[in-house]
C-alpha cells in the first residue's frame, strides 16, 4: 500500500511538470503572438518592449525562459499583474484560496450527506413514488443553472424576504474570514453552500441510486440475504460499500475541479473573492500572469484530487489494489 502510494505521488509531480510546460508554451511560445507585446500592453514604445523582453528573458532560449517564469511563479513569487500594475499574482491567489476552500468544503459536506440520503432512500424504495419524486427533484437540481439559482437565492434572502424571520440572519454578500468571525463566516456561507450543493446533490443522488440498484442485482446481495443479514446491514455494508467506489472517484474529481476555480459562478454571484472570481476577472482583462497562475493553481488541485482518488480507489477496492 505504501509503495504504490509513493509511486502515485511521484507520478503526480511528473504530471504537474508536464502541465506547467504546456501552460508555459501556450502563453510564451504560441507562434505569431509576441508575448512581450501582450505583456507591455497597447501603444508600448520599442524601448518598453525591449525592457519587457529582457526582464522576462524573452530574448533567450525557451528552456531558460521556462525556468525564469517558473522561478518567478514559485520561488521569488514576484510575478505582477499587467492590469493592476504592482499587484503580485501569487499572493493574490494564495489569499483567494481560503475563500474557495471554505465555499467548496462546506458545499461538499452538504452534497455528500444529502446525496447519500437521496440515493439510499430512492434505491430502497425503487420503483415507488418516493423514488420517483426524489429522482425528479434530482433532475431539477441538475438542470438548474447555478448562476440562476444563486441570483434567485440572493433575491429571496437579501431583498424580498430578508426582513422576515426566515432570512433576517443572512448577512450581506461577501466573505468574512473564518478566523476573524467564525459565526459570521458560517452565516455568510450557508446560502452559497446550498446553492453550489444543489447541482451535486441531484447528480450524485441519481448516480448513487443507479449504482445501488445495480448492486442489488449482484449475486453477493443474494448471498448476504441467504446469510440472514438484516436489510439495513445489507444496504450499508454490502450495497452502499461497493457502490461507494464510483461515488468517491466522482467526488474527488469534482472537488478538485471546484477548488481549482470551478466554483467561479457561485463566487461571482455571491461576491466571494475566491480563485474562481480571480480567474474570471483575469480572463476579462486578459491579464496573462494571472491567467497563468490560476491555471497552474487549478491544475494543481485537479492533479492532486486525481491522485487522491486513485489512492482511495485502491483503498476501497482490493481488486484494484492487486492489479498494481
Amino acid at each position: 500500500m505504501l509503495l504504490p502510494t509513493l509511486r502515485r505521488l511521484a507520478e503526480m509531480i511528473f504530471v504537474m511538470l508536464g502541465i506547467s510546460i504546456v501552460v508555459f508554451l501556450i502563453f510564451f511560445a504560441t507562434p505569431g503572438a509576441d508575448p512581450a507585446a501582450r505583456i507591455a500592453g497597447r501603444n508600448a514604445t520599442p524601448e518598453i518592449l525591449a525592457q519587457v523582453r529582457h526582464s522576462f528573458g524573452l530574448d533567450r532560449p525557451l528552456p531558460v525562459q521556462y525556468a525564469l517564469v517558473m522561478e518567478r511563479l514559485f520561488v521569488t513569487r514576484d510575478l505582477t499583474s499587467f492590469v493592476n500594475r504592482g499587484q503580485r499574482v501569487i499572493p493574490a491567489v494564495i489569499e483567494a484560496t481560503p475563500v474557495t476552500l471554505s465555499l467548496v468544503l462546506g458545499a461538499a459536506v452538504i452534497w455528500v450527506i444529502f446525496a447519500i440520503i437521496v440515493g439510499m432512500v430512492a434505491a430502497a424504495t425503487r420503483g415507488g413514488i418516493t423514488d420517483r419524486t426524489l429522482m425528479f427533484l434530482g433532475l431539477v437540481g441538475v438542470s438548474m443553472p447555478v448562476f440562476w439559482v444563486g441570483s434567485v437565492m440572493n433575491l429571496v434572502t437579501q431583498s424580498r424576504f430578508h426582513n422576515t424571520w426566515l432570512f433576517h440572519w443572512v448577512p450581506g454578500l461577501g466573505y468574512t474570514p473564518l478566523l476573524l468571525h467564525p459565526w459570521v463566516w458560517f452565516k455568510s456561507l450557508v446560502i452559497p453552500w446550498v446553492t453550489l450543493a444543489i447541482l451535486y446533490i441531484g447528480l450524485y443522488g441519481r448516480v448513487l441510486r443507479a449504482n445501488l440498484v445495480e448492486a442489488y442485482q449482484e449475486d453477493f446481495i443474494r448471498t448476504a440475504r441467504a446469510k440472514g443479514l438484516s436489510e439495513t446491514r445489507i444496504m450499508f455494508r454490502h450495497a452502499l460499500r461497493t457502490s461507494l467506489i464510483t461515488f468517491v472517484s466522482m467526488f474527488g474529481l469534482d472537488f478538485g475541479a471546484l477548488v481549482g476555480g470551478g466554483a467561479l459562478l457561485t463566487e461571482v454571484v455571491f461576491g466571494l473573492p475566491g480563485v474562481g472570481r480571480l480567474t474570471y476577472e483575469a480572463l476579462q482583462n486578459l491579464d496573462l500572469p494571472f491567467i497563468m497562475a490560476t491555471v497552474m493553481y487549478s491544475s494543481f488541485f485537479v492533479v492532486v484530487a486525481n491522485a487522491i482518488v486513485d489512492i482511495a480507489y485502491a483503498w476501497l477496492d482490493p481488486r484494484v489494489r492487486d492489479a498494481r
Partner: protein
C-alpha cells in the same frame, strides 16, 4: 399414507403444491407448476434438470429469496413443522443462514468483493450468535481448516478474488456451515469448477452430512454429480417434477424419457471420453411457450395419443414418474423402442 412413497420417515422439509409465477406485460407466467417434494433428516436430495427447468427458482422459493415484487408464490413450505411462507420477515431472516444455508454456483460473484473471506464468515456467525469478533474469527479460521483450506488463518485474510475457484467454493461452504444449519441448499456448487476440484467439493458436501448431520438439497444439471452423492433424485422439467425416487432405482431404471436422455449424456467417469456426448435433441420450452399436455412432448421420441393430456405422477414402489408410459408399470425401454420409436432404437 405418506405423500411420497420414497420419503424417509423423519421429514425436515415438506414442500406442498408449490407454484411460482411472475406477473408480466404478457400476463402471468407460470415458472414452477404445482410441485411437491420433501427432504428427510440427514438426506441428500438431488434436483436435476436442464437449465431453465426451474431448479434455482424452487430453491430460492424455499429460502424466500425471490425478491421480484411481481412474483406470486403459492403452496406451503413446511420446515420443522412451520410454514416458511407464513413466517414474518424477521423470523425468516433468523432462519436463513442459521437453520437453512445456501451456496451458489459462482463463488466469485457470490461473495462481496471488498471484504476478506474471514470477515464474511465472521459476519454470518455474528448475525446469529452472540460472539465476540475474536471468537467469531477463531471459529471462521477453524471452519476454513475443516474445509481443507491450507493455512486457514492466512486464507481468512484474503479477498475472494485472491483465491482459486475451488478454494472460494470451500470458503463459501465454510460460511454456509458456520451456524450448523440443518439444511444446506447447494445450487450447482460444482458447475464452475474443473473435474478434480468438483470431486473434492462433492466429497466435502458428503462429509457434511456425516459430520454435521445436515440434510442437503443438491441442485445440478449433471447426472454424473447425482450418481456420486445423492440418496434420492428428483428430475425437473419445465417447472414440473417428471421423475423421482431413490438414486439407485432411478439410475438403474430411469422411467421417464427425459431421465433416460439425461443419463445418456453423462460423460464416463473413467476411460476415454467420447468425442461428443449424445444430448437430448431440442431445448426446453420457454415458460411462456410450454405445450399443453405433457411438457416433454415436443422432444419425446415415444409420444403417443394420451400425451396431449398432462400426465400425473404415477407411483410404482418407491419410484414416481410423470409419463403415460408408466401408467401401469415402469416402462421397458427395449419394448417401447421397438413399438413406438423405431428410429431411436439404435
Amino acid at each position: 399414507m405418506p405423500a411420497e412413497p420414497s420419503a424417509p420417515a423423519e421429514t425436515l422439509l415438506d414442500v406442498r403444491n408449490l407454484s411460482v409465477s411472475f406477473r408480466s406485460e404478457k400476463g402471468v407466467i407460470r415458472i414452477i407448476e404445482d410441485i411437491s417434494f420433501s427432504v428427510g433428516a440427514r438426506e441428500i436430495l438431488s434436483i436435476v434438470g436442464e437449465s431453465g427447468s426451474g431448479k434455482s427458482i424452487t430453491s430460492l422459493a424455499v429460502m424466500r429469496l425471490i425478491t421480484d415484487p411481481n412474483a406470486i408464490i403459492e403452496g406451503s413450505i413446511i420446515y420443522k413443522g412451520r410454514d416458511l411462507l407464513k413466517l414474518d420477515p424477521r423470523e425468516m431472516r433468523d432462519l436463513r443462514g442459521r437453520d437453512i444455508a445456501m451456496i451458489f454456483q459462482d463463488p466469485m460473484t457470490a461473495m462481496t468483493p471488498v471484504y476478506t473471506i474471514g470477515w464474511q464468515i465472521e459476519e454470518q456467525i455474528r448475525a446469529h450468535q452472540k460472539l465476540s469478533r475474536r471468537a467469531a474469527r477463531a471459529r471462521a479460521v477453524e471452519l476454513l481448516g475443516e474445509m481443507g483450506i491450507p493455512a486457514p488463518a492466512r486464507a481468512a485474510t484474503r479477498y475472494p478474488h485472491q483465491l482459486s475457484g475451488g478454494m472460494r467454493q470451500r470458503a463459501m461452504i465454510a460460511m454456509a456451515l458456520s451456524c450448523n444449519p440443518s439444511l444446506l441448499i447447494a445450487d450447482e456448487p460444482t458447475t464452475a469448477l474443473d473435474v478434480t476440484v468438483q470431486a473434492q467439493i462433492l466429497e466435502l458436501i458428503q462429509r457434511l452430512r456425516r459430520d454435521f448431520g445436515s440434510s442437503v438439497i443438491l441442485i445440478t444439471h449433471d447426472m454424473g454429480v447425482v450418481g456420486t452423492i445423492s440418496d434420492r433424485v428428483m428430475v425437473m422439467y419445465a417447472g414440473t417434477v417428471v421423475e423421482r425416487g431413490p438414486k439407485p432405482m432411478v439410475l438403474a431404471q430411469p422411467s421417464h424419457p427425459y431421465t433416460l436422455g439425461l443419463l445418456r449424456s453423462i460423460p464416463p467417469m473413467h476411460g476415454e471420453r467420447p468425442f461428443r456426448l449424445p444430448s437430448i435433441p431440442g431445448s426446453p420450452p420457454a415458460p411462456t411457450a410450454r405445450p399443453a399436455g405433457c411438457p416433454f412432448q415436443p422432444r419425446c421420441d415415444f409420444r403417443f395419443e394420451p400425451c396431449g393430456n398432462r400426465p400425473p405422477l404415477f407411483r410404482h414402489g418407491a419410484q414416481e414418474v410423470a409419463c403415460f408410459l408408466a401408467a401401469d408399470h415402469l416402462p421397458d425401454w427395449d419394448h417401447e423402442r421397438a413399438i413406438r420409436a423405431p428410429g431411436a432404437a439404435a
